[in-house]
């Protein structure tokens, strides 16, 4: 009994934990989303799509994911490569870069709100430098573009660290000998990066992209802190329907949509960045 069943016994607590606190609520949420007064149906989804904020929420969410995730990946790649060339102080730099990881989403959102609002640090600085004559309101419904940029900046600051950590770990597994060999044959640093380092980092880029895309679709606290109701995204609309409109079933419909998008994004990255079987360790 011991030898054979032991592994199952050991993972049992985790399985039970996930089943009770994750799987059951998931099934309940899906059931709730399809439950209408006239039996199971798509009524909640129709109400969701009919709402005046739905279109904005979809557009904002996709814009947000579409801009924040590539920016974060590019920045994190650059930072990971720079880190590779550091000798002394590498750990210190990595440590500083990952500080935002230790902050809650909401705290990060509030920090950026304090910087960017019309009486915030940025406005005061511009005022003292004489660039603006009086406080400017950027984060209102009248300036949706500025609002969008502010949300992207805050998310970029907060969540790039996790991408760096994953990419740094991946980069450490890439042997330096390949790059040295290529450079002996006269390859430029850019060519080495695009032809050798990048392809070898594919598995870690894939993990980072999956993680970031899914979390960006679920972005909530940063968005709500900076944008409030002026910048609806899918998850904040789910919250509004549950909390203010007291309609859990429409909120559940939103949750199902977000889940569908997350699954689709994961499948997409798994397919696009597939690592051939012979390359897998």
């Amino acid at each position: 009994m011991r030898g054979r069943n032991l592994p199952y016994l050991l993972i049992a607590p985790a399985v039970i934990f996930l089943a009770v606190l994750f799987f059951i609520p998931l099934v309940q949420t899906i059931a709730l989303a399809f439950e209408t007064r006239s039996g199971p149906g798509l009524g909640n989804f129709v109400r969701m799509a009919d709402d005046l904020n739905f279109h904005d929420a979809v557009v904002n969410t996709f814009r947000f994911v579409g801009l924040a995730v590539p920016l974060q990946l590019a920045a994190a790649l650059g930072m990971a490569m720079m880190l590779r060339h550091l000798g002394k102080g590498r750990d210190l730099v990595l440590w500083i870069w990952t500080i935002p990881l230790g902050l809650s989403d909401l705290a990060a959102g509030l920090i950026w709100l304090a910087i960017l609002n019309d009486k915030g640090y940025l406005a005061s600085l511009l005022f003292h430098l004489g660039i603006v004559s009086e406080p400017q309101s950027w984060l209102t419904y009248e300036s949706p573009f500025a609002l969008f940029v502010a949300v992207v900046i805050a998310e970029f600051w907060r969540a790039t660290a996790i991408v760096i950590v994953i990419l740094v770990a991946g980069l450490q597994l890439v042997p330096k000998e390949y790059a040295e060999a290529a450079s002996v044959f006269g390859a430029s640093p850019w060519r080495i990066f695009t032809r050798i380092t990048l392809p070898l980092m594919k598995p870690s880029i894939q993990s980072a992209l999956i993680l970031r895309t899914v979390l960006a679709f679920e972005a909530f606290a940063v968005v709500i802190a900076i944008g409030g109701r002026n910048f609806p995204v899918l998850v904040s609309e789910a919250y509004n329907w549950q909390n203010f409109n007291q309609e859990p079933s429409v909120a559940a419909a939103y949750a199902v949509v977000v889940m569908g998008l997350s699954l689709a994004a994961t499948a997409l990255w798994l397919r696009l960045l597939r690592t051939p079987a012979e390359q897998r360790g």
């Binding site: 005046l52 019309d118 009486k119 009086e134 309101s137 984060l139 209102t140 419904y141 009248e142 709500i224 409030g228 109701r229 002026n230 509004n240 549950q242 909390n243 203010f244 409109n245 007291q246 309609e247």
Partner: protein
Amino acid sequence: MKRRTALRLSAALLAATLATGEACAADLVFTSGALAPVQEAQKMRTIILKDYIGTVSFLPDEPPAMLTRLRAEFQGNARVSSVVGANDGDLAVLAPTGALAPIDDLAAQLAGRGFAPDLMAMGKLGTEHQMYIPWMQATYFMVANKKALPYLPAGADLNALTFEQLRAWGEAVQKATGKRLVGFPAGPNGLMHRFFQGFLLPSYTGGVVSTFKSADAEKAWTEFAALWKTVTPNSTSINFMQESLLSDDVWIGFDHVARLLGALEKRPDDFVAFPAPAGPKGRGWMPVVVGLSILKDAPDPAGARALISYLTQDTTQLITAREVGFFPTVRATLPPDLSPGLKMAVSAIQNTGGAKDSLAAMLPSGLGAKGGEFNKVFLDTFQRVVLRGEPVHEVLARQGETLQRIMTDANAPCWKPDPASSGACQVK
């Protein structure tokens, strides 16, 4: 030896944990959708409840979260709360779920306190039985910074302001300062929907639901959209007007007394308080009632009754008025030594109710779980007409359909100032 000590220690710890657990369970749990801001909750715990004979755990929350928690207690069959204190509208959401116990006997027992009869009648929530005892009342009014007074249009009386004059005032302030300094609490936790339901629409149309699509309503929204041009764009983030008044972001603001009092108390010399403006049909205003109910199968029904009796004594009611700015529901004369801020609030409320053209608009009732959706109709109309500039006529037609569906689904009869209806209230 060591091991035994450890054992003993853990046994002692366990006993201590159990004991405190028991003490907590013995407390009367008072869940509240009112007095949720930290300062008010603290005053409730340390001052208002101080002389109560038992121990009370006062657990306030924002109304939606409070409703969700009570629903969870009820559905999970894990009763913790005995008493719930909430706005009339929120108790109306709970009543149809069977979460509240009828308290006719308690109402009879407390009859000698001198409750205002119409408030007591509201406590039936449209049923045969008394579902709550009126606990506190309040309303909404406006506060202006004295710096704005020089720009008041000629001939305008602050206590008899019209919407037209408010717009002219806002424009004059904007012209002089270059800034939009009128404010409305249209943030996510703000009470903007009450402004439409209790002030703007009754003032222009004399109704709320039945007149929703009328030509008068079109005029109300069109003129409000014009007024909005003088309103600070930060309004859609304002939840508590007192903060914006104190930071000078807003010079002329509308809100609930409990969300204005902080400014009046802190800098009484800088502000004036006055009734909300009037429209062609009168000075619409909404009295707010907060009630106390006992939950069905409450863990401590006797304690719950004692607590409600304590909170509706005239001495407690006066302390409540002084500390948190909600006014008595029983016959009680306010003491002359009120703070200047509170005095201003009281006189603004009296000027509102006592105005010649006063037109009281009741809180929505009979909507049950549809209350949130009902509010959304008004907020969506606001967003479409005022913030996005969509054509008024089409928006009202579309939102009117939604409103009618809600009224029909809830089978809610009209409430004042709409004329009484036999069945569900009809959007005409």
